[in-house]
Amino acid sequence: MTRKLQRTVRLPDPRVVFALAFVLSSFAVVIRGNLWLMIGLMAVSLLCAVCIGVDFRQMWRRLRRLLQLLLIVSILRSVFAPSGTILLELWGVQILTVGGIQIGALVLLRLGLFITSGAMFTCYSVRVLIQGMVQIKMPYELAYMVSVGVRFIPQLAEELKDSLTALQLRGVVIEELKLKKKLSLYTYLILPVIVSSMQNAKELAMSMEMRAFRAERNRTSFYALSLKPSDIVMLCGILAFTILMGVILIVGVDIF
């Protein structure tokens, strides 16, 4: 009796997404200087993300901040390592050059690729991801550690927000505080929040241990993921894509 996970009927197997994210982010690291190839890679990854069903409005909100970064990196590059046609020059200093923009764009695309690869996982429940990790032979302890760790961060943010609200309810108007006061306020808040999260983490660990976590070397699983034919087709597609990209990179086929 193999039970399928409820919420993931229409999504590809998480292992397909692991493979995809791995390939995309590896190429993001490997590609240097070839802007067009990077743009192509970004297009492919966006397409994949759309197909999986990533929420793009949310993504865009995050990516927007990166665009400012693009400008900063481009300017820094243009000023300190000018190359290519000069687009803007002030007092004899090259502020913006084509070469600078190219480098800036490369950096941005690299970050964008990491973000889209990561965003694909947000479509899956943690349980499905753990199961995927376990079924690619990752030790289950590690898989659980990752998942509990991932939950830890939003929990910290949540508690910090609660503490701030509590302060506001007691009449502290945070917006009106001077920057220095505000900063010291945050430092006072962060420590107790971290301490209480550590306490929670400890209680969680006790509960897991008393429910026999790590009792045996192996563990069975109520759920099992199984590759559908469509998943296998996708895996083959990813493999073909990897080979194609590899050939382009090694042989240096100048398609553009």
């Binding site: 349980r127 209680e203 969680l204 006790m206 008393m210 429910r211 790590r214 009792a215 192996n218 109520f222």
Partner: protein
């Protein structure tokens, strides 16, 4: 036969001493209710019985705890989980899965229960604690009382020989308490040993002995 034997247990957190030379013997099949004012060390006692003090919890401790004749500290995780099931006081920090079903499955998966057996156990526990409706809900979406039911289900699924309950019903409504009390007395009649901490007198009727700390 003796299920739990606590011998001359003293626990102190730094300077602050909580239990002093405390001894307790619980026979198999007994249901002992532990009462006492806040801060008198009821939770501490249960932690010590589970072997979490000393070790996991930072506290000095002397004396010994025997579970079915063996020192609790020498038991492996698996052996301990088969003998002792504990519902801790705070339901918030005992749930970490995506769904109630996962939560109940977690312990069963750890002890390598076969899949059909697991399915059967999960169904049974969901029914027993009356949370069948929430099977696929996330624990985060539940109320305090519902969370307590889930924790109970997850712990009872492992079918421990001794059940330790630290105010496990505190946030439940009257009907829920009544229902679970029935379940507990059913468990008792099946030979399960129970050690309960509770403020209310809800569980007095199923207790075979009451201890005031």
């Amino acid at each position: 036969m003796t299920a739990i034997e606590v011998r001359n247990l003293s626990v102190s957190y730094g300077e602050y001493s909580v239990l002093r030379d405390f001894s307790l013997t619980v026979e198999v099949g007994e249901a002992v209710l532990i009462q006492g004012p806040s801060g008198c060390g009821k939770s501490t006692l249960l932690h010590a019985i589970c072997g979490l003090i000393p070790g996991v919890i930072d506290a000095e401790c002397s004396g010994e705890v025997l579970v079915f004749g063996e020192l609790v500290q020498t038991l492996s995780v698996a052996e301990r989980a088969k003998r002792l099931g504990i519902v801790f006081q705070n339901p918030e920090t005992q749930l970490f899965c995506d769904s109630i079903e996962d939560e109940i499955a977690f312990g069963l998966e750890n002890i390598c229960t076969p899949r059909d057996e697991m399915a059967r156990r999960i169904d049974e526990m969901l029914k027993l604690t009356d949370i069948e409706k929430y099977r696929f809900a996330s624990p985060k979406e539940l109320s305090g009382g519902q969370k307590q039911r889930v924790v109970l289900a997850a712990v009872m699924a492992l079918d421990p020989k001794v059940l330790l309950l630290d105010e496990a019903l505190s946030q439940l409504d009257r009907r829920g308490k009544g229902m679970l009390r029935e379940q507990f007395s059913q468990l008792r009649s099946e030979g399960c040993t129970m050690l309960m901490v509770d403020h209310d007198d809800e569980l007095v009727s199923i207790a075979s002995r009451i201890i005031n700390l």
